[in-house]
């Protein structure tokens, strides 16, 4: 069968399947398939949930340090058990459903939100052939699955019959749909350069990490991705200073825990994707094994997210939309066009681009990136930054002849 063919390409799946197949009667193939899937699912879900828990701790500690605080340090060594404490707290809370809410949709939304996040992680190659990393349509799969969360957020916002939630949901739909386009186009650039759609093969094609080869694509992807997971400076879906909590205003207890879990899961997934697409995945140097490299790179990207979250304010909704359509979309198209032309010229054929080709591409792309960025900055209103000098208006003359002496202005200059 077609599906099985795709799945068989994953080494781990094949391994587990083969192991069980060895002592099962032939007519129970479906059972073996089921067992294998369940085992694999358990591994993936646990890996993801545990790393998410670790991320929440990491993020809160790092944010604390960025803000010259300590962050959670009470529960367990260095506060490492804090996620567990949070979970216990959330699960013991009353699970309320607002009156007048659309109950089935309200209940379904957290699940619809969570499942795609879990599925996406399955295709990310932790090393050469882990999980389902060799799925030959990995990139399309990722792009397709991640867009489901738009629906989930809208379900949550719509069903809870709360105006704040509705605002958050409407913003979410507008923003997520817009940012999917530049994100998709920048991913196409990766696919063309790597000459494949499978995530494992993308990693294998990166003799030079693609962040160096196509910085523009990286910039567009990471910007669009941080909008996709609604993190600073694009966190307007749940902008806490405006909407309170946005689409999950009405959620509590276990449902809220699921929503929060997914929300913290998104950075992990995006960081893993960035690592795979642009940071050459598990490939590294020295005796350190591949998965360790992968985790290190992922955490570097996560640290970047946390750093940005600690430093920058949020953009307004229409500015975010114009950034997507006026800024990122042209940039991503430029990136795609340049890559396509280069690949067409080098015409690598089956073997893929050689290191020399990649080096030449790097040089060209960096200069194009800088030019494109300057142009876009100017188009996006660099000129508006100039301001007139303040002039004291007439009312000031009321005491024009009093104290501001020459000494004062001298002092001000000395300051």
């Amino acid at each position: 069968m077609m599906e099985i063919e795709i799945l068989r390409s994953g080494f781990d799946f094949l391994g587990i399947y083969g192991f069980f197949d060895g002592f099962m009667p032939d007519n129970l193939d479906w059972l073996v398939f089921l067992i294998t899937s369940v085992i694999l699912a358990m591994v993936i879900i646990n890996a993801l949930v545990i790393s998410t828990a670790l991320l929440t701790w990491f993020e809160r500690r790092m944010l604390g340090r960025f803000q010259s605080r300590l962050g959670p340090n009470r529960w367990g060594p260095f506060g490492l058990l804090q996620p567990i404490a949070d979970l216990v707290k959330l699960l013991t809370k009353e699970d309320t459903i607002p009156e007048g809410a659309d109950k089935p949709v309200f209940t379904l939304a957290p699940i619809v939100f969570l499942v795609p996040a879990l599925i996406v992680f399955a295709v990310i190659p932790l090393h050469g052939s882990s999980f389902l990393g060799r799925l030959n349509i990995g990139l399309i799969f990722v792009i397709a699955i991640t867009s489901v969360n738009t629906l989930a957020i809208f379900m949550a916002g719509w069903s809870s019959l709360n105006k704040y939630a509705m605002f958050g949901a409407m913003r979410a739909v507008a923003m997520l749909v817009s940012y999917e386009i530049p994100m998709g186009i920048s991913v196409v650039g990766v696919a063309i350069a790597a000459q494949t759609l499978g995530l494992s093969n993308v990693v294998l094609a990166q003799d030079i990490p693609f962040i160096l080869v196509m910085p523009l694509g990286f910039l567009v992807f990471i910007t669009a991705a941080s909008a996709e997971m609604s993190r600073t400076p694009f966190d307007l879906i749940e902008s806490d200073s405006e909407l309170g909590a946005g689409y999950h205003t009405e959620y509590s207890g276990a449902k809220f825990a699921l929503l929060q879990l997914t929300e913290f899961m998104a950075p992990v997934i995006v960081a893993a994707l960035v690592t795979t697409l642009f940071l050459s995945g598990w490939r590294g140097y020295g005796p350190i094994p591949g998965p360790v490299w992968f985790i290190i790179k992922t955490f570097v990207v996560l640290f970047g997210f946390v750093w940005i979250r600690a430093s920058w304010p949020r953009l307004r909704v229409d500015q975010i939309m114009s950034l997507a359509w006026k800024g990122l979309l042209p940039l991503s198209i430029v990136n795609l066009f340049v890559i396509a032309v280069e690949v067409f010229i080098f015409n690598p054929g089956e073997a893929g681009l050689s290191t020399r080709d990649l080096l030449i591409m790097t040089g060209i792309n960096w200069s194009i990136t800088i030019i494109a960025l300057i142009v876009i900055f100017n188009v996006m209103g660099q000129s508006k930054l100039k301001r007139p000098e303040p002039v004291a208006l007439p009312l000031a003359n009321m005491y024009a002849n009093t104290t501001v002496s020459k000494k004062a202005t001298d002092l001000a200059e000395a300051d």
Partner: protein, 367 residues
């Protein structure tokens, strides 16, 4: 094809993260656009003016702590000045210097809070806010040395301040004065040139100078429109006429100007405190005043430049030991008069930011 839409009315507050306390805005939105705003307040009404009628003049100092609770020192100052003018009490020099030092420190603290919360409303994840609070903490420590309390200071008395500063106050103040400009630079590095902040604050919520004057708006909000009006210069009280400082103004009157005027004012306040430290001389800090002040049956109004604007006390005396009537001209309250004109037409996110840039404290609005 046209889609049938209808406006949505939302109650922003009284429980909302960005309304600076229990303040309520009934906002009507057309999509994200604000089409009508109606401020509703009174949730923090404690009847300060009525309470004052049955307390004696010194006891009321404790009430003024609770008006603008992030700037208790300047409230104290405004009140005791009114009482002094009512009862004709003079203040010794050292007392005046101590008052100016504490009031200017309080101005820095208050502006730090205004800046921090403005950035929080812009969506920075508490980082500028916490940096601001860290520096404010050092001011509060200085206040603790001066008067044993950090927020509800009750430091000033009619006729001076209650007690001289302890000896270890001065080295700490010097320390603060020398390191604060560096921290301010750092804070500005985080905010002033940040493109996101610029995109969110430049040319947003413009208040014209004429509108501001017509609505008798005062303080940084007025100065941001380009009107160089500061009671410290216009009617110098305490020792402000012996000090050199500038009154920073803005050029456009938008949210960014309101932020930037505050930052510059903090630098000017540091300059003022520095000069006070150089000029202050030993001596008494409080003139001999009776415990129970009995002014003649007169009335008086005295305005003082508080961090939010002109804080005025109008006191009517009937010759007794407590005022017959006291009215407070609260700058936060009066600065809200143009709120509707400022907010209508902007997006929801701008509403929060423009509202935050006016910098109100609900304790003062509701009194």
């Amino acid at each position: 094809m046209s889609i049938n839409t209808q406006p949505v009315t939302i109650n922003l507050g009284p429980q909302h993260p960005s309304t600076h306390g229990v303040f309520r805005l009934r906002v009507t939105f057309d999509g994200e656009q604000v089409i009508d705003v109606e401020p509703v307040f009174g949730y923090l009404h404690r009847g300060t003016e009525k309470l004052a009628e049955e307390r004696n003049y010194v006891q009321i100092v404790t009430l003024t702590d609770r008006l603008d609770y992030v700037a208790a020192m300047t409230n104290n100052l405004a009140y005791v000045r009114a009482v002094e003018s009512l009862a004709g009490i003079s203040v010794p020099d050292r007392g005046m210097y101590l008052r100016v030092i504490s009031a200017e420190l309080q101005r820095i603290a208050s502006h730090l809070i205004a800046t921090g919360f403005l950035l929080d409303e812009l969506g920075a994840f508490h980082t500028p806010l916490i940096y601001c609070f860290r520096e404010r903490e050092r001011i509060l420590e200085l206040f603790e040395m001066l008067c044993g309390a950090r927020i509800t200071v009750s430091y000033m008395r009619p006729g001076g301040v209650f007690q001289d500063a302890p000896i270890d106050f001065w080295p700490r103040l010097d320390d603060f004065l020398s390191s604060m400009p560096g921290y301010l630079d750092e804070l500005e590095g985080l905010i002033t040139e940040n493109e996101v902040v610029l995109a969110r604050t430049r040319d947003m919520g413009i208040l014209s100078a004429q509108d501001a004057i017509d609505a008798s708006i005062t303080g940084p909000v007025l100065r941001a429109t380009g009107v160089q009006w500061d009671l410290r210069k216009a009617e110098p009280h305490e020792v402000y006429d012996r000090l050199d400082f500038d009154v920073p103004i803005g050029s456009v009157g938008d949210t960014y100007d309101r932020y930037y005027v505050r930052v510059q004012e903090m630098r000017q306040s540091l300059r003022i405190v520095q000069q006070c430290v150089e000029q202050i001389e030993p001596g008494p800090v409080r003139s001999e005043t009776p415990y129970f002040i009995r002014p003649d049956a007169v009335d008086t109004y005295v305005g003082t430049e508080s961090p939010k604007g002109e804080l005025g006390f109008y006191i009517v005396s009937d010759g007794g030991i407590s005022p017959y009537r006291m009215h407070i001209r609260a700058p936060s309250f009066i600065n809200l008069t143009t709120l509707r004109d400022l907010l209508v037409g902007w997006k929801m996110a701008d509403l929060i930011v423009i509202f935050g840039s006016i910098d109100i404290v609900v304790g003062e609005v509701d009194r």
